[in-house]
C-alpha cells in the first residue's frame, strides 16, 4: 500500500507491506540505521523514534499506520543545532558506553524536554523508564539531560 508521511521534516511516500515494521522501513528501505533494534517486543526502547512528537517503539508500528504522521529519528537530531546540544551533553557527561541504547535515550529525553523544559529528576526517570541501558547505570544519562536543560535556548 502507498503511504505518505513526514520523515525528519521532509515528505516521504513509499509503497509498503501494511504490516512491515517502521524499524525495518527505516533501517532496510531508507538506510537510516541510527535507530537500533534491541528486543523487538517494545520492552527495551532501543528503537524509539518520535511519532507526532511522542516516543514510540518503532518495532511495534506497522507501515499501515504511517499515513499522515510525522516521524523523527536520531538522524534529524544531529542535523538540528538546538537539539544537538542534548547529544553534546551525553558526550560530555560520558552518558554513552556501548551506544546501542543512546538513540532511543536521546529521543525519549528530547520528547520530554519538548513538553517540559525543566523536568524534575523523577520526571526524567519516568520518561526514560521504557529505555533500557545495560552499561551506564543511568546516572550519567540523567546528568546529561540535566546538563542540557541549562543550555536550551
Amino acid at each position: 500500500m502507498r503511504v505518505s508521511f513526514q520523515l525528519n521534516g521532509r515528505p516521504c511516500t513509499l509503497d509498503l507491506d501494511p504490516i512491515r515494521r517502521l524499524i525495518d522501513v527505516l533501517r532496510e528501505d531508507l538506510d537510516l540505521t541510527g535507530t537500533k533494534e534491541g528486543c523487538g517486543e517494545g520492552e527495551c526502547g532501543a528503537c524509539t523514534v518520535l511519532m507526532d512528537g511522542l516516543p514510540v517503539n518503532s518495532c511495534l508500528v506497522p507501515a499501515c499506520q504511517l499515513e499522515g504522521v510525522s516521524i523523527l529519528t536520531i538522524e534529524a537530531v544531529a542535523d538540528d543545532p538546538r537539539r544537538r546540544r542534548l547529544l553534546e551533553s551525553f558526550v560530555e557527561e560520558g552518558a554513552v558506553q556501548c551506544g546501542f541504547c543512546s538513540p532511543g535515550m536521546v529521543l525519549s529525553a528530547m520528547s520530554l524536554l519538548d513538553r517540559c523544559p525543566d523536568p524534575a529528576l523523577e520526571d526524567v526517570r519516568r520518561a526514560l523508564a521504557g529505555n533500557i541501558c545495560r552499561c551506564t547505570g543511568y546516572e550519567r544519562i540523567f546528568r546529561a539531560i540535566d546538563r542540557s536543560k541549562g543550555r536550551a535556548p
Binding site: 500500500m1 507491506d17 501494511p18 504490516i19 515494521r21 523487538g40 517486543e41 517494545g42 520492552e43 526502547g45 524509539t48 511519532m51 511522542l54 516516543p55 514510540v56 517503539n57 518495532c59 511495534l60 508500528v61 506497522p62 499501515c64 499506520q65 499515513e67 525519549s108 520528547s111 519516568r126 520518561a127 523508564a129 521504557g130 529505555n131
Partner: protein, 274 residues
C-alpha cells in the same frame, strides 16, 4: 501484499468486518505476535482512524473511545476528575512509548488477567459499546470478558466505546510488579467505595492477575459493607481477599506471593478509604 483498511466510519468498518480481518489498534501486543509468527493475519482492519472510536467526553457517563491511547487517557481532565483510578492505571501501563500507542480498547479485547485498565473499569462498573452488523449493543464489562484472554465479542464486531458511570465515591488503583515500568503486574487491585456516616455504603473491588480473568472480590466487599474502615476491618477484608483469590504459580510469581500481596493491597485500600 496483505489487504489493510483504515475505515473512518462504523458503517464502513461493519462492512469490512464481514471478511473477518484481524483488527489492529495500537499494535503493542499484535505486532509482537505477528513478528514472532504466533499469528499470520490474512487481512488487517485498522480501527485507530475510526472517528466514533475516538474522543473522551461526559454525557450521562464518562464516555471513552476504544481507540484512545493510555497517554491520552492518563492526562485527560475528565478522566482525572471522574475516574482517577482509571487515570492512575493508564499512567502505569508499560512505558511512555507503550502509552503513546496502546489503546484502552486493545487492553479490554486482549482480556489478559493482568490488563491494567480492567480492574478500575470493573470496579467502576463500566459498560462496553460494541459495533457490529446489526448496529450497536451495550454489554457490562463483567459480561464482556468471559474467560482467560477471551471476550464475548463476535469476529464481526468491534469494541467502540467504554462508558463509566459518574460517581463521586472514593476510588483507588494499585499494582505490584517486578519493577514500576514495562512489567506485567503480579497483582493489581482497584476499588470504588461509598462511605456514609463513616461506614461503607457501597464497595466494588476488582483484582487482577489472581485468577484466569480480572475478578470482582464480592465476598471481600461483603465483609466491608456497613462497617467502619478500621485497621481491624482492613485485616479481616485482607484475609477474605486471600481466600477469595484463585492465583496460580507461573513464571512471574507464586500463588502464595500473589495471595499475600493482594491481602496487603486490600488492607491498604480499606485504610485509605474516605
Amino acid at each position: 501484499m496483505m489487504p489493510c483498511h483504515s475505515p473512518r466510519t462504523v458503517s464502513e468498518a461493519a462492512a469490512l468486518l464481514r471478511e473477518r480481518p484481524t483488527v489492529i489498534a495500537g499494535g503493542t501486543d499484535l505486532m509482537v505476535a505477528i513478528h514472532q509468527k504466533a499469528i499470520a493475519p490474512a487481512s488487517l482492519l485498522d480501527v485507530t482512524r475510526l472517528t466514533e472510536a475516538r474522543g473522551i467526553r461526559v454525557d450521562t457517563a464518562l464516555d471513552i473511545g476504544a481507540a484512545e491511547t493510555f497517554a491520552a487517557i492518563a492526562s485527560h481532565p475528565l478522566v482525572l476528575s471522574h475516574a482517577p483510578a482509571l487515570a492512575a492505571a493508564a499512567s502505569s501501563v508499560g512505558s511512555e512509548q507503550i502509552r503513546s500507542r496502546a489503546t484502552i480498547g486493545g487492553n479490554l479485547v486482549t482480556a489478559s488477567p493482568s490488563g491494567d485498565s480492567i480492574p478500575p473499569l470493573l470496579a467502576l462498573d463500566a459498560t462496553t459499546v460494541i459495533a457490529g452488523p446489526g448496529g450497536l449493543r451495550e454489554l457490562p464489562l463483567a459480561g464482556f470478558i468471559v474467560g482467560y484472554r477471551l471476550t464475548a465479542l463476535d469476529p464481526t464486531e468491534i469494541l467502540l466505546r467504554i462508558r463509566i458511570p459518574i460517581t463521586s465515591r472514593f476510588q483507588s488503583f494499585a499494582k505490584v510488579g517486578p519493577r514500576r515500568a514495562v512489567a506485567c503486574s503480579k497483582v493489581s487491585l482497584a476499588g470504588c467505595a461509598g462511605l456514609s456516616a463513616s461506614r461503607f455504603s457501597s464497595v466494588r473491588l476488582a483484582a487482577g492477575a489472581v485468577a484466569p480473568t480480572v475478578i470482582l472480590l464480592e465476598e471481600t466487599a461483603a465483609v466491608l459493607l456497613h462497617n467502619e474502615p478500621t485497621p481491624d476491618l482492613a485485616e479481616r477484608a485482607a484475609a477474605a481477599a486471600e481466600r477469595e483469590a484463585r492465583p496460580i504459580d507461573d513464571v512471574r510469581s507464586t500463588a502464595q506471593y500473589r495471595r499475600h500481596v493482594l491481602g496487603r493491597l486490600v488492607s491498604r485500600f480499606v485504610r485509605s478509604a474516605r
